[in-house]
């Protein structure tokens, strides 16, 4: 579904992402972990086309990631949930439905708003929403086109405990539906239970890429490390 080959992104002569390659098969849920400044967000922004790649190749569903065909296949939930100040929640849904060409979108939109307890706030303007609510709108907007591939950039930040639980459940549901998901996060325990594979980044490079079972095995057979301990071990400074 997603293939990243030798991706490099250089800012001011410094490589934020350096020659990384990985792929995501259809229906796979992959967690992208790493300390601050590891290059997770840059990688994700390169993939969704918000920033240019300096080198490398990215394809989504066999199409170049910048093509309109590729964009029909994925949704992106950004780290900071900006919404239009003067559009209501419902109008955001309407806007996304048009942008992605979603037919008969209203029942789906209602269902999503209900799930995220936004159904009674449909007429609220974007500017009147708290950060957590904007995050929920952002997630609803991403799910409305029913994409095959979802990119979540730190999706839990700003959400209340109930919304976090809902999002975890949502990941499970999406996984059951065969969706492919790449989640960048700091919250290891949030991803541990649902991710099939973990990519660990540090200093712009991938230093760990394995199934969660193998990592767990490695953790248990090693010195009894948990996934969190293993993550800290892998990303610690020399």
């Amino acid at each position: 579904m997603l293939t990243v080959t030798q991706l490099t992104k250089v800012y001011n002569k410094q490589a934020a992402v350096h020659d990384i390659s990985f792929d995501l098969a259809g229906g796979e849920v992959v967690g992208l972990l790493g300390p601050n400044g590891a290059g997770k967000s840059t990688t994700m922004k390169c993939i969704v086309g918000l920033i240019r790649k300096t080198a490398g190749e990215i394809t989504i569903g066999g199409h170049d990631h910048l093509s309109v065909e590729a964009k029909r296949l994925f949704s992106y939930i950004p780290e900071t949930p900006y919404v239009y100040d003067l559009l209501t929640i419902w109008e955001h849904m309407q806007f996304i439905a048009q942008a992605y060409g979603v037919k008969d979108w209203k029942p789906k939109a209602l269902e999503l708003l209900e799930l995220y307890e936004l159904d009674d706030k449909q007429k609220k303007l974007g500017r009147d929403l708290s950060k957590g609510m904007r995050q929920k709108v952002s997630i609803c907007c991403a799910l409305l086109p029913d994409p095959q591939l979802l990119f979540f950039d730190e999706p839990m930040i700003g959400l209340d405990p109930k919304a976090i639980k809902n999002t975890k459940n949502l990941f499970k549901n999406l996984k059951e539906q065969g969706k492919t998901i790449l989640v960048s996060t700091h919250l290891i325990e949030g991803i541990e239970s649902i991710a099939d594979r973990i990519l660990i980044m540090k200093d712009g490079q991938i230093i760990g890429n394995d199934t969660i079972a193998n990592l767990r095995l490695q953790a248990e057979t090693g010195s009894g490390l948990s996934l969190e301990d293993l993550f800290l071990e892998l990303t610690k400074d020399e």
């Binding site: 086309g49 240019r52 309109v68 964009k71 992106y76 900071t80 003067l86 109008e91 996304i96 060409g101």
Partner: protein, 541 residues
């Protein structure tokens, strides 16, 4: 997928929601009502008096060079040129954006064509320029209604002249940045803009030096008709010349030039911008931050315009308690400018004053130019004082937490500003007085005026901010409070100052009265500020 239809629909919904917001809170209409009332009044007054004015035109002066008119047109052209060149130069530093962060998050990843989005937003950016120009036209029309008669075609050319001038700057800036990201020719573009700036400066300096009196000749070239051919600035002036000359063919030709240029710019931008999302990301984020700061939902940072941000410092401590605030400001200022006490920008302003004094000494400029400059600087420091209340220590929790008296905290918070102001004032006024043979009392009065204006500005903003709670209190009482300070403090001061200047004809007396009045006002406001400061509370942003 029709991107234009999608975006039009989105903007229509935003427009409708904006209207609904206004109707939900009709008090927002009050300023508009006052503006409409004002325009109606000025127009009706203007129409009544328009007939008498036409007969007062001095026909004897026809054929002579009207220096006053030349200087007015030249001055306006110069301002437009400076703004234009500055905008082009800024394009070599950072990009502009037509987008919001919501577009970045929701629209950019969507299956839409980037070039169509860009075309739509670029065309839409004419709306603010058009709105601003329309407001300006209606405003100046109200002012000038009894001086000139403006017909519909004249009004349209005026409107288009202003609108297209402001409008075209943004696509041009976008193009410059695009060419830079595409071909990496930043240095060449920057040098090009600088060379253009030097050439245009020569167009003012050379005729000025050639004329018997500098200020009578300096605008001779840029006010001549051939300068109308200069892109953007000249075209707008040429288009608006319908107002004076009534030649619609000429004005339409300039309009056509604008049309062709816009078409070419859009074509070039689309051809070279490619996948431009990254180019606008930073500017969009910055705009969003600025908007949030203006709304008060985000703290105003102090790192803007930092010249020396990465400077390594090893300053000793200045003392305990509130002195830490002074130390912090000192460190901050060391990173913000080349020297914590004497900055680059302020040195530039001081040099400008000294140059004006020198030119006045050689009769190239009237002495009054320096006087105006000094008054402008006093106003500038008043505004700086207003701005100081919004940033820095007051918004940080440790201003409240530091175990020291409030007066000591306030003093240490503004101590560096006052020192900088004093040094700047002396740097400017001492050489100016010596070079230009001005009154020696200015050496005392001008720095004091700057300091008092700064303290008043600080108090004017700080008192309502701390003393009044959020909500209607603040919205309704703040203007009343500021109005009171202006009406009962600043206006009488300016009145007596102007009166003294009018009677004696000496600037130093006028400034003396102003400084005395401002000093009283500053003392009262400082007292109130100290009294109210203990009510300061930290607002979680």
């Amino acid at each position: 997928m029709n991107e234009f239809r999608l975006l039009l629909k989105k903007d229509f919904l935003i427009f409708v929601n904006n209207l609904l917001l206004i109707f939900r809170n009709p008090l927002r209409l009050i300023p508009y009502g006052i503006a409409v009332g004002y325009f109606v009044f000025m127009y009706s007054k203007g129409i009544a008096g328009s007939e008498q004015v036409t007969s007062q035109v001095n026909m004897d002066a026809a054929g002579e060079v009207d220096v006053t008119q030349q200087n007015i047109i030249g001055g306006l052209t110069l301002v437009a040129l400076i703004f234009f060149i500055f905008q082009l130069y800024r394009a070599t530093k950072n990009n502009i954006t037509f987008f919001k962060m919501a577009d970045v998050n929701l629209l950019f990843p969507a299956p839409v064509k980037p070039e169509n989005i860009l075309i739509y937003y670029m065309a839409r950016s004419i709306l603010p320029a058009l709105g601003g120009s329309l407001f300006f036209l209606v405003y100046s029309g109200g002012q000038l209604a009894n001086e000139f008669s403006v017909d519909f075609v004249g009004a349209m050319f005026l409107l288009l002249g202003f609108t297209l001038y402001f409008f075209l700057i943004f696509p041009l800036r976008f193009l410059i940045y695009t060419l830079h990201t595409r071909f990496g020719i930043l240095e060449q573009l920057r040098v090009g803009v600088l060379v253009l700036g030097v050439l245009l400066s020569s167009l003012i300096l050379i005729p000025g030096f050639m004329a018997p009196v500098f200020w009578e000749g300096m605008f001779a070239w840029i006010t001549s008709p051939w300068f109308n051919l200069f892109p953007v600035v000249g075209w707008s002036r040429g288009m608006m010349s319908y107002f004076l000359e009534g030649n619609w063919i000429l004005s339409s030709t300039y309009l056509l030039l604008y049309g062709i240029t816009y078409y070419a710019v859009v074509k070039l931008v689309i051809q070279y911008s490619g996948h431009y999302y990254e180019d606008v990301l930073e500017a969009t984020q910055n705009n969003e931050d600025r908007l949030e700061k203006a709304k008060g939902t985000k703290e105003v940072t102090e790192d803007a315009y930092s010249l020396n941000a990465k400077k390594q410092l090893a300053l000793p401590e200045f003392g305990l308690g509130a002195k830490a605030l002074y130390w912090r400001n000192y460190v901050q200022s060391s990173r913000q400018d080349l020297h914590p006490l004497i900055g680059l920008y302020t040195s530039g302003m001081a040099v400008l004053g000294i140059v004006l004094a020198g030119l006045g000494h050689f009769d190239w400029f009237s002495h009054q130019v320096l006087y105006f400059y000094l008054l402008f600087l006093i106003f500038f420091y008043f505004m700086a004082g207003i701005g100081r209340a919004n940033i820095g220590d007051l918004k940080k929790p440790w201003f409240i937490l530091i175990p020291a008296s409030w007066s000591s905290k306030l003093w240490n918070m503004i101590k560096l500003d006052l020192l900088q102001t004093l040094i700047f004032g002396l740097l400017l006024i001492v050489p100016s007085v010596l070079i230009g043979d001005y009154n020696f009392w200015l050496i005392l009065l001008f720095p004091l005026g700057l300091i008092f204006a700064y303290v008043i500005g600080l108090g004017v903003n700080l008192i309502p901010q701390v003393g009044l709670d959020e909500g209607w209190d603040r919205i309704l009482i703040k203007p009343l409070m500021i109005g009171g300070i202006v009406v009962f403090g600043i206006v009488p001061t300016l009145f007596f100052s102007g009166l003294l200047f009018g009677v004696t004809g000496k600037f130093v007396f006028g400034l003396g009265a102003a400084v005395l009045g401002l000093g009283f006002l500053a003392a009262i406001l400082t007292h109130v500020t100290l009294d109210i400061l203990k009510r300061l509370e930290f607002k979680e942003l």
